[in-house]
Chain length 263, copies 2
């Protein structure tokens, strides 16, 4: 699919350094779009830029930015003003384990900035641009923890739920405006972050066995653009969610996820 | 039930002026707790203070505060420092109809401040206090729009989902700490705000017919404290949610709620 023709020249991947964001950047480059690679680690992003430019014959741009800073969205908007932006994908997220009150308010606000505020500011800004041009693509990322709620990781789960519900609503609002808006809810995915945060024991092993490859995740999302606005990615994850919704109360879902993190 | 003995002398009702918040303030006063009445409209709150003090023989305190201001939580915390706080209930919320990009970022940030940030700051602070005392009660409020997502009212629905998922997770974390934490998900409730925001047509009429009285909502919540951490209030609402979860995709749920607001 020629994404450049359909949506525009450049796509901004917020949280592009590795894992799902990196796979997303490669996917749109394959579709002839130039990715703007946003993340904290300049060196890794520069390496990815070179790799993508070589592999796909597109241009790429690195934008080093800490998304937990209050002016992060403004910086991204300012540094891409001259580009024909046709796509954004918000992949970034921040979490810290522990009971709510055992994490400092300062750390909660950093998480909120990354998971909710910077996300909102960028989503709002580029929806305005896409609405004027009557074209554009938005792919946001949520998580199964946003469905069950996420004890000991409560801020993260709540933020992922916010992203899911905001995007689902906007996707419906935009359905006749030429803009494809979707939110992908991921379960375990083989990213560096996932692999370094695994709990031990059988649950951890089972999670690894269930985990999807990032390329498969991204391919499934693109197969569903224009068809499904809110997509739980992966057949196993869809079965899991169906089971939660049909057989378990919200309290039982929280307990299930809480026990997972207690190990 | 003597709430004062169980939880402490004072309970803070954030958004106490009318509707659900007012009914909550009356309920805890009936349980011998002194309510701190937080809201914007000083005159109405002063009248409620007098009414409650007369009807229930407790003390009440008015705290006039605009929850959309960034220092709102700090002010509430500061002005109640000397009180034995045993309970908080976050009822306040702010919404504005329209497509995401048609509402200014400034207005979105006001909604986010009321629906998410001030909520988080207060929840975090008082959970710290309750954890130290090993007692306390938290009753937060979500909405069916936080389940379906809420097209043309996206910020509100996403905020309500954030409240629901954060509270569900923390309720599980706190289950053995002597703290009762719960989140009540409300459908249509006969509040002044609901009645002034009703859409027209059959859907509006049906919503009115389904709407619960605020006192019934509050009674049902208190019957379930210690039993259900995440409660959808009202049998009809529980049946509706069951139907959504079992028979409708997330896209169909968004469409259902979107069509409701389109009228």
């Amino acid at each position: 699919m020629n994404l450049k023709e359909k949506y525009g020249e450049w796509g901004i991947i917020i949280g592009a350094t590795e894992g799902v964001g990196k796979a997303m950047a490669q996917k749109i480059a394959k579709g002839k779009m130039n990715p703007v690679l946003v993340g904290r680690r300049g060196e890794k992003l520069e390496a990815l830029k070179k790799e993508i430019e070589t592999d796909y014959g597109v241009k790429a741009k690195v934008l080093v930015c800490d998304l937990s800073e209050v002016d992060a969205a403004n910086r991204i908007i300012k540094d891409t003003t001259d580009l024909d932006i046709g796509m954004i994908s918000y992949v970034a997220c921040l979490h810290k384990f522990g009971k709510l009150q055992d994490t400092s308010l300062e750390d909660h606000k950093k998480m909120l900035q990354v998971n909710v505020i910077t996300f909102l500011e960028l989503f709002h800004h580029y929806m305005g641009i896409f609405a004027k041009k009557k074209k554009g693509l938005v792919v946001n990322f949520s998580s199964l923890t946003g469905i069950t709620s996420s004890p000991y990781n409560a801020q993260y789960g709540a933020g992922k739920s916010y992203i899911k519900k905001l995007t689902e609503a906007v996707a419906y609002e935009a359905r006749n405006d030429g803009i494809d808006v979707c939110v992908a809810t991921l379960g375990s995915t083989k990213t560096p972050s996932f692999l370094s945060n695994l709990p031990g024991g059988e649950e951890g092993q089972a999670a690894t066995d269930r985990a999807m490859d990032t390329d498969d995740v991204i391919d499934e999302i693109f197969e569903n653009i224009g068809k499904v606005r809110s997509l739980v990615v992966g057949e196993t994850n869809r079965e899991t969610v169906k089971h939660w919704y049909e057989d378990m109360s919200a309290d039982e879902q929280a307990e299930y996820m809480g026990k997972f993190y207690e190990r």
